[in-house]
């Protein structure tokens, strides 16, 4: 990155950090826009996935968030995509693990 782009990125970053700071000072929580949302009939336990895949595993489903100026969805999050990974890793595919 050139230094010009660096400073643009940095000032954008500072603006976002200032937003969070303002939220704390004004005691009004920031309203994060939700990017990754599953429908209401899916129960997704994050804890099991993090436990198995490890704490560096966010990128597996969310992409390289560290490199994203603004988070965007990289995976389809459709059921077929979830099942593929379960089949590859030979983990349970039972319906009532996530739908109950």
């Amino acid at each position: 990155m050139t230094s010009a782009q660096d400073s643009v990125a940095r000032s954008a970053e500072i603006a976002e950090v200032k937003k969070v700071q303002a939220a704390w000072i004004n005691k009004k929580p920031p309203e994060w826009v939700r990017i990754h949302a599953l429908p209401g009939f899916v129960r997704f336990p994050h804890m099991r996935h993090i436990k198995v895949l490890g704490t560096e595993s966010c990128a597996t489903c969310h992409g390289d968030v560290r490199a994203m100026p603004q988070v965007y969805q990289v995976a389809t999050l459709k059921m077929g995509w979830c099942i593929n990974c379960h089949v590859q890793r030979q983990v349970g595919r039972d319906c009532t693990l996530c739908h109950y």
Binding site: A23, W24, K27, K28, P29, P30, E31, W32, V33, R34, A37, L38, P39, G40, F41, V42, R43, P45, M47, R48, K51, G92, R93, D94, C95, T96, L97, H99, Y100
Partner: protein, 995 residues
Amino acid sequence: MDRRRFLKVLGATSGGAAALSACGIGPEPTEHLVPYVVPPEDQVPGTATYYATTCRECAAGCGLHAKVREGRVIKLEGNPESPINEGRLCSRGQAALQGLYNPDRVTEPMARGPNGEWQKLSWDDAVGRLAGKVKEARGRGIVFLTGLETGSFGELVDAWVKEVGGRHVTHEAFALEALREGNRRAFGSAAVPLYDFARARYIVSFGADFMETWLSPVGYQNGFTHAHSFDGDRDTSMAKFVFVGPRLSLTGMSADEWIAAQPGSEALLALAMAQVILAGRLAPAPADAARLERLLPTPQRVAPVVGIAAPEIERLAREFAASQGGLAVGGGVATQYGDGADRVVAAVNILNYVAGQVGKTVRFGPNHAIADAGTFRQLTDLVADMAAGKVDLLLVHGANPGHTLPAGFSQALGKVGFKVSFSSYWDETAAASDLVLPDLHPLEQWGDARPRVGIHALQQPVMQPVFPNTTHAGDVLLRVSGKAGTFKDYLQDRWKELHQRVGKGRDFADFWTDALQHGGVYGEAPNQPVRLDPGIGQLLGEVASAGSGATGESLLIVFPSLALHDGRGANKPWLQELPDPVSKITWHAWVEVHPETAAKWQLANGDILLLKSPHGAVRAPVWITPGIRPDVLAVPTGQGHKAYGRYARDRSFNAFELLSDTPADFGGRAFAVRVSVVKTGDHRRLATVEGDAREQGQGIIEVLSLAQARELKSGAHRFEEREAPQYAEEALKAWAEAQHQKASLGDYAGTAPRWGMAIDLSKCTGCSACVTACYAENNLATVGEELVVRRRQMSWLRIERYYTADADGRRVGAVVNPMLCQQCGNAPCEPVCPVYAAYHTPDGLNGQVYNRCVGTRYCANNCPYKVRYFNWFNFAEPGGEWESWPDPLNMLLNPDVTVREKGVMEKCTFCVQRIRGAQNRARLEDRSVRDGDITPACAQACPSEAIVFGDLRDRSSLVARLAADPRGYHVHTELNTKPAITYLARVVHGAAGRA
């Protein structure tokens, strides 16, 4: 276009576009994630926090664990540390949630305006107005009427009324005056002792409904189970239970023998039994009992009055004494017929005394607090004062005499200068008041209770008030009297005093924190010996000359409803929709009529009778049952409210209207009355959930006699799986082969648990606590009376009750079993689902995937147990016609369980949310799930510990051991469904009756 999309589009064009996004197809509306700026302490979103508090739904004072999610309580469970209920909880306790989130709560102070209309006012105004009225009324009669208050709030009220020169009257509709007076006459002490059911070896109840409303139902049912259930391991001398009473109540249904004695003759029966024991020196009686012998009647003399043969009475007495652990109890509301009801209790006391059990199974010392409740006479004295204009200011808290004493109290109320109610609801008394200062709900407020000596139960708020403009009545009283501090301060001061007495060695902060964590301070009160009162001889003379008491054709008994109690439960839909454990009727009261009487009067179920007593008249639909004497009628309490919210108002009839307003000679109310009966010619369909009261030989409930049960050898199977017929042999072989193949594919190949249950019918009493717990845990919809009549109730778990009779058709009894989805290994519902919504999971559950279900209902059609329920209506639609959870009732919904929409089939899932939750937690801790990690809601609530859940494949688990028990059987084995639920046969003393 594929089929699913086609169906979805169809739905969209007829139902609006909103349906599409909810299906996960198409663009979702933007969601925002809004975190806390400062997260509240100990609330983690997504996980539950549990607080210990005390239940205030009746005088028993059971300990609660309140499950709080995101700052609101969603489930109540028993506190395992409380010696009162040992971690179990009844339906009324579970339903306290529906009182908390009731849509008809009073949300702010209200005062009656000049034209009689209700107007809101601020708390400052309200307190000022009350203070002004107190000043005006000083010296002109100030009365504070409360329910039984055994803790700091009661002390505050006592101090407050003393300061203003008034008096404090307490009122409990079921104050058990006969029990207290009978104890006083027998032992000189009006205290109510602790009855140690767990230690008993032979139990006789003279109409005491100890599983329903008498004293401490959850705790006593638990103790009873320990004594009475059949446990193959220990010394199998299962305690025999005999129930004496004109009506087979829930408590009576667990009896080995039901003696339908002539109403009013119970005292004679008890005394005759005592006579046999004394005369035959059958037990080590205390020395002073000897002089009673010549005063006691013989079996021969009482037999014709009681209505059973003298040898039977002798047999009962011999059994009672020989057990060396007899326990006789009496003084229930339903046998408080009228004058002389205290004599029954005194007689029961004598029976216990001569059997040497006072001090053993009957323990004075850890006495119940109900003995401190005001008597009915005290209430009627107050009413007389009110009617005479002697009460200028009346304050009411925790009592609703507008319902329990409808005529007398309401009339007298008109003569009271100013009426103040602290009620949280618009009950009859509040609706007739001038100023309503809504109290917080017990789950929102600080408080304490002393349900029995030695137990100090603490009550803490488990969440912020649902309605911020309600205030603790204690705070209001402190403000009115100009005192500084809140009620919490007052409470802590009282506990500082307690700390001085029992908290030695620790500083108060630790003592207090401990009490909060454990739900209170639990101590043992030492036994106090008692002696026979000198006046006992006179009492025996009275019994002898009183004759048989109530006789005649038209005796009507008013018995306490298990769900609705004295009417307080009527505003909670869970309790209204809970089928009465005996009659299985919901949303309405009934009159019980014996089949012979019904035949004589040509009555059918649902015919409406006009019952007229000297004090009132009601219209009651008939329910024909063999569980009552032919010469007696019975009606339950609790319905017939004139106010009290949408679920209670203008529904059915109020049994209290039939009763006399005059106290009986023992100071209590007469709960029996003579009525004239007139057929009105009208009819009403009963909202019942049962089909047939007889099993018709289906073998759904198996019963063994004690002798048979004792002979069972471990490993044997008394109830052999029925042989398959010849023509099915080939098909079964092919089926077994196919199963074996399927069992080696994918997820089904590995080792997985097989979740199963064992339900011990020698423990289950039919109390239905499990039913309400299931409603609470699984977001079950209450459908209302009209839909119950149309058989659309949604309860996943039902208690089936079948009447039994012996070979001559006499000796009526009843057997019960909980019926729920059997999670069949070879489920008939699975192969018929066209979309695989019903399927078999690798861990043995019959899975129901709501989002796949398209509503063909073939699965429910095929289920032989009829445990699948279809959502014919949208019960969750806000403002919809069939709305089950009008705001704020929806706050009690469990976020871990899907709220089902119209068009979807549902059924028991073995609380799969709890199974998955435990599995997730175990995975985090790198271990496998242990036996006892998972408890479904029904098993957790059951006061009898009848339901056991676990992994059938884990040979060390309790459920696997019980499933292999020789008493075990499956329902409808002939259908080859291979259920995961094993029922353990009920065991009875004597011959096993059949339906």
